[in-house]
Symmetry: C2
Subunit: 811 residues, 2 copies
């Protein structure tokens, strides 16, 4: 188990909870060079495929549901076709029954609406949890600086709301709120107060971070990281038991608050997607329709991903598009509609909780008034270039660091690592007010368009003509920068450096950590700096031909807040490679189509630049780092290989592959079958007409075969090793005086997917992606030749990209 695991660790801390399966369980099938569905324990979905063949066959053995049938083992890939077949069978059954009685009709109506009910529940639960997280994190972040005398459960802002002595200008100063220095040494100014506050800030940060990492280690190792790479993998049809379980949900919620409050350079947006997916998974258990079908469950999880983004940003449409563009694998239209419903419910639940205290749905509410000029596209594109370069470099640095964590001794001390990074973060962050505040506060401040009455340092401009004050505040002209703004710019530059460096080390640690906020912060700082620079340039050089015509003296032509917003979009785009969803999220934040063009220009530039420097987004990079079996739907398979180059055994028996293990439909005895199955690890065996002809009849799964044989030996009289195993239909006449035949037609999948050996791999990959296959048989001139599994394809793709094919770990 050296190189698997989550949050890039190389240790395990599985718990004994029923939701939790020790990750080392996945080592079972890690031996690599065994061909032919190696380790693919198909999970015996025997109720579909070969059995759903219209002719009501006598189910010899599997009449009653054998425990475990229809489920998958941990760390294995599901078969979408089977799961969807199963669901359609269920549907048909309900439809037929519903014509028979009113009760069944009611049941069918209930069944039809249970999806909507589930969506409603997910929306409500996720919205409520997100509100809770927001409120608690806000309070705990403030706790690092002081406490409210009216009640320790009030955060700074709330504490001062209730105070009557607060004026509009100093909303955050009120006697009820005491900094730790005031409480402990009784002074609020001077060096001692500063030192006490500093120490308390660092101590709280360390305490929160330590608690977070300890809880994660002790109770739910899956709760770390952002969770999006794993959710992408799960949605593509992979099983990770416990990853979305109730323990993970609980621990992730708690540790997310702790991690955010500790002041580390991380966000809560990515983890909120994980939290929403956990909610969905837990709620799925209430509905048999979703609990028992992995494909249906994934439809719900896709919607939950939309819900996560919806509550993170207050952007329901953006959330749905995020799920569609970035996370989901199978996204039918029905899911689109339901995700949208769930995302809206969640957004409104969050709004009614009102964690930001402003009745706004969105995380950063911005309202710009000045239009932008076409010439400004140049700096916007520049921000896009910056975002793209930073995104690509960040991914490289982060992946390099995570690989080092996985492969060296560093990974063995996750608690120490978290504490050390927190210490560095807290010590460096406190002196600078822009790093001391939380990431989302920082971004809000940077996005903000200065009004006349703004007291922030960023808005410290020199007001030249007081006569102009009668103008409405949203038509402020460009003004020269004041001293406060100058110092703010220096602080921001330091904050930029701080965020850029620390985020590399923070993302991937053993605490819940999202990337959205840190990336956006980096971009927003860069954007604001550029924006203020442009503004001053335009102010002092308004006679330059460049500015002539649109930026004359006294005009409000540059909005630094808009630059910050564009920069944030560009950086987030560079890191995640999101496109439409990113622009739509930002559109929902601003609420106006006016600024879509700048946002789009920056996003497009950023994506192009980042793609030129490195193909993968951060989530794909982490998926690859962890070796998950994820078949990327966006990337084109560009090589000219054929199915025969990928199948096992290789054509011509190269590489010492063992031959294909097939069963004959009539000619084998039970003893021979048992010997064959016992001597191999394959989890599926093609059944052929005869070993000579190699004409394919169907596919039988190891698990089904073993269960059926076991069952027969126990319950069917006279079955011995010399009994014939018969897959054909009609079965051959029973040999007189011989032992009774074992008829196994019912467990045979009669419709395995086949391709010819000359099929180009690009088409095979397309089939695997679009239909969600696990394996495919390869024929030549009607004869069975070999087999291709999803893992074979992933290994082949790794090989073609000059990567280590053994980096694909799971099945």
């Amino acid at each position: 188990m050296e190189n698997s695991g989550f949050c890039n660790d190389n240790y395990n801390s599985g718990t004994s909870d029923d939701d939790m399966v020790d990750i080392s369980g996945a080592t079972l099938d890690f031996s690599d060079d065994v061909p032919q569905i190696e380790g693919d324990h198909f999970g015996a979905v025997s109720s579909s495929g070969g059995v759903t063949n219209g002719q009501a066959k006598l189910m010899d053995l599997l009449d009653e549901a054998v425990p475990g049938v229809g489920t998958y083992e941990d760390f294995n890939t599901i078969d979408w076709v089977r799961e969807k077949s199963k669901d359609r069978d269920r549907h048909r059954e309900i439809a037929i029954k519903s014509k028979q009685s009113y009760w069944a009709l009611l049941h069918s109506v209930n069944d039809a609406f249970s999806g909507w009910l589930l969506m409603l529940c997910i929306g409500l639960m996720s919205g409520a949890l997100a509100g809770l997280i927001d409120i608690t994190a806000h309070w705990m972040t403030d706790l690092k600086e002081g406490v409210c005398l009216d009640g320790f459960w009030f955060n700074h802002e709330h504490c001062c709301w209730t105070s009557k002595e607060t004026t509009f200008h100093e909303r955050d100063k009120c006697p009820q709120w005491r900094s730790w220095a005031e409480l402990m040494v009784g002074v609020s100014e001077g060096a001692p107060a500063y030192i006490v506050n500093y120490l308390m800030y660092v101590c709280w940060a360390l305490l929160f971070a330590f608690l977070a990492v300890s809880l994660v280690r002790a109770f739910a190792p899956y709760a770390c990281g952002s969770g999006i790479p794993e959710i992408k993998t799960i949605l593509s049809g992979f099983i990770i038991r416990g990853y979305l379980g109730k323990w993970t949900l609980m621990i992730k919620t708690i540790t997310l608050v702790l991690a955010v409050s500790s002041g580390l350079s991380l966000g809560k947006e990515g983890p909120l997607v994980h939290v929403a997916c956990c909610c969905a998974n837990v709620l799925c258990h209430l509905f048999a329709k979703y609990r028992l079908n992995e494909a249906k469950k994934r439809e719900v999880l896709s919607a939950a991903a939309a819900v996560g983004v919806s509550v993170a940003f207050g952007a329901p449409i953006g959330g749905v598009l995020f799920s569609l563009e970035e996370v989901s694998y199978y996204f039918p239209l029905k899911t689109l509609w339901r995700s949208f419903f769930a995302a809206l419910v969640a957004a409104f639940t969050l709004r009614s909780i009102n964690p930001f205290g402003n009745s706004r749905l969105v995380l950063f509410y911005v309202e710009f008034h000045a239009p932008w000029h076409l010439l400004e596209l140049a700096p916007f594109v520049l921000l896009g270039v910056f975002g793209g370069i930073w995104g690509a470099l960040f991914i490289r640095a982060n992946i390099a660091w995570c690989r080092r964590r996985k492969t060296t001794r560093l990974g063995r001390y996750p608690v120490l690592e978290v504490v050390a990074v927190t210490l560095a973060t807290a010590v460096l962050a406190f002196p600078n007010e822009y790093t001391r505040m939380s990431g989302s506060e920082l971004i809000s401040e940077l996005f903000n368009d200065c009004s006349l009455l703004d007291s922030s340092k960023l808005c410290d401009y020199v007001n030249q003509d007081a006569a102009n004050i009668t103008k409405p505040s949203n038509e402020l002209p460009d003004r020269p920068a004041g001293a406060g703004l100058h110092s703010a710019l220096w602080q921001l530059s330091l904050a930029l450096l701080f965020k850029m460096v620390l985020t590399v080390f923070t993302f991937g640690m053993k605490v819940p950590s999202g990337l959205f906020i840190p990336s956006m912060a980096v971009g927003a700082i860069a954007g604001r700096l550029l924006g203020v620079g442009m503004e001053q340039l335009a102010y002092y050089h308004h006679d330059w031909p460049l500015f002539k015509g649109w930026c004359s003296q006294g005009a409000d032509c540059i909005t630094p807040g808009l630059y910050a917003m564009v920069g944030a979009t560009a950086c987030l785009g560079g890191v995640t490679r999101m496109t439409v969803s990113l622009v739509v999220i930002m559109f929902e934040l601003t609420g106006g189509l006016e600024y879509i063009v700048p946002l789009m220009a920056a996003t497009m530039t950023s994506k192009w630049v980042a793609d030129a420097l490195g193909r993968e987004g951060i989530y794909e990079a982490h998926i690859r780092l962890n070796g998950y079996p994820f078949l990327e739907a966006k990337e084109e398979f560009g090589h000219k290989t054929l199915a025969m180059d990928v199948m096992r055994p290789r054509a011509g028996g190269r590489r010492g592959d063992p031959p294909l293990a097939t069963l004959s439909q009539e000619g084998m005895t039970l003893g021979e079958v048992e010997a064959l199955v016992g001597g191999t690890k394959f989890s599926g065996f093609p059944v052929v007409v005869s070993q000579e002809s190699q004409r394919l009849v169907g596919l039988v799964l190891r698990r089904d075969l073993l269960i059926s044989i076991d069952n027969s030996r126990k319950h069917q009289e006279g079955v011995v090793s010399a009994s014939r195993v018969v897959f054909s239909d009609p079965p051959p006449p029973q040999v007189e005086n011989g032992p009774p035949d074992l008829k196994l037609r019912s467990i045979l999948d009669l419709s395995p997917f086949t391709v010819t050996d000359h099929t180009p791999m690009e088409i095979v990959v397309d089939i695997f992606r679009k239909l969600g296959l696990r394996q495919c048989l390869v024929t030549h001139n009607g004869r069975l030749l070999g087999i291709i599994t999803k893992k074979d394809i992933l290994k082949h793709m790794a090989q073609m990209a000059n990567r280590d094919p053994d980096s694909i770990l799971f099945n």
Copy 2:
């Protein structure tokens, strides 16, 4: 040709333009009971599939591109897999070349960006055309009532802008604008003036409608209708030559303006989608990448559909979702991003043309101020029910009428029909001001929230306390209705009846006609009536427990405009069954998340109610009426049939099917092959190892085979009817002294799709949908058994739904 054709006609008027192919050309393959890829002239895409097999094979015959290879015949289905293969081959070639020279590198960069360039062009062209259409239609609509003395090219509004004598209250009354009565008989009031105006109105309407239908008949029969059903079919992979050609574009643009101006109950939104798609298709001709590949072209057309809606409503995001949800078949993420870009470009082009004169992007700009109350959901749901019922009834009535048009003599007189309907419309419309104004004006007026100064009759409330006038106008309390409002309500009720009846007869006539505006108008009227009713109820009975707490006296608690909006959404949803895209379009119109919940409640109710009354939306219904080969992606295939029940020839030789015509890979002479090909109509022949074994080697297309044989006979020496035709590799040794063998391995598709005979049809349908297949071979135990084509599937589905399987016309 009794039952094919467009706009449900049963006559033809093909022109001789190169873009236009006479529809009757499609009769070629209408004979129905011939099995096995009947009439599927595959179009010889020989450069891919079997040939792209990695081993650089000697291309015996097809070395040079034979004219016509790689194209499809009219009214046939494309093979998505082949088209995509072709594109990937092209990509690979460019990628390889780009490493060899700077020029080739430049070419590869150009190739990569040509998609974006094309999108830009489509956006610009569609935006400009939409602006032109808006302006001209506005002017011509006003022309029916009068003319501007300052210049006949000014519309009414524009004419009065320039006038200085206009006051704010009577913006539309100015001396420059003369009604026809003023001009012709010199009076502006009284019966004679009314009669003159009435007559002129009817005459202009008749003239416009006559011109429209004549132009359509004479130059571009494809320009009629909304075009969306056909575009859906084309996007699903069907070829209709000329449907998106330059003639159709020109004539549709002109006739759309005429049809809208004639005052018929139709809208320009649907046809705008067609216009945008025509633009895209015409512009595709500039780029070889798109011109030569039917799959790539369809990606562009999907984006163009988004552009169409974007310019129709000023809703780019809604447009993209419309394309995704309603129109497109194959919509990869790359297309999503590009559609979004094109939609934005188009929206901004339109805005810079500014056809509405208000700098707004959207068609109906609405700004509501009052929040809605939870109890109001009840009337909103009621509107949803109304929308659903009306939608379902409308579809039934319209389809019944269109079927009557197709099957009776009515269809032979399209000009007469249009003129008659226009006459009825104009005569009935003029006396009622709400039917006299254009559909979009009516909807704008109905959506409008009354302000104090509003002079419209709909806002004729009794102002009780003039003291309250100091309040900002957006906080008007509910007031009792005045006499003007009472008469407006009566007129609206008549208008509702008028629209409901006439739209049934209008949609499907031989003029360009969209459904969005008429449906929305019906819903908006119903909604406004209900809204005003609720408002008056709340005003007079504010002491009812129902209204207590939220609707006390003097409060502004009911916004009739919002009801109109919800009603419009519900009706449009009932007719088209759009969901997410509809809500998002409406969200973009209002710009606030506040009203999404009412809109969503109405849309959901409307969809559920309409689905309960009839499964299909209007576009699907028209597709079925016209017998297009459209494999609906939304509908689940719910039957338990197997591949063997659908394939031709039927298992067991039922129904007198001719046997499967196969070629042996070695054993046949040229004479035998020619006899087989000549004796059948099949457009593809499976090649087997031998007739006895029926083991599948590959598939050869009729077209390729004929071309190759022809070529050999001409260019290869000594080929006679006794020559052996050889498909195997390596070829068997040449018979000594015999005629030379004909080696045809190169035209063999070595990777045909196969399924087993026991594969459930639901899986087969899924494969066809997701991979875009045209045909699939069926095997049993490794032996070839039959073939399934897309048409077989559609016929089978029709049969299972108790419809006439012969209603599927094309291939």
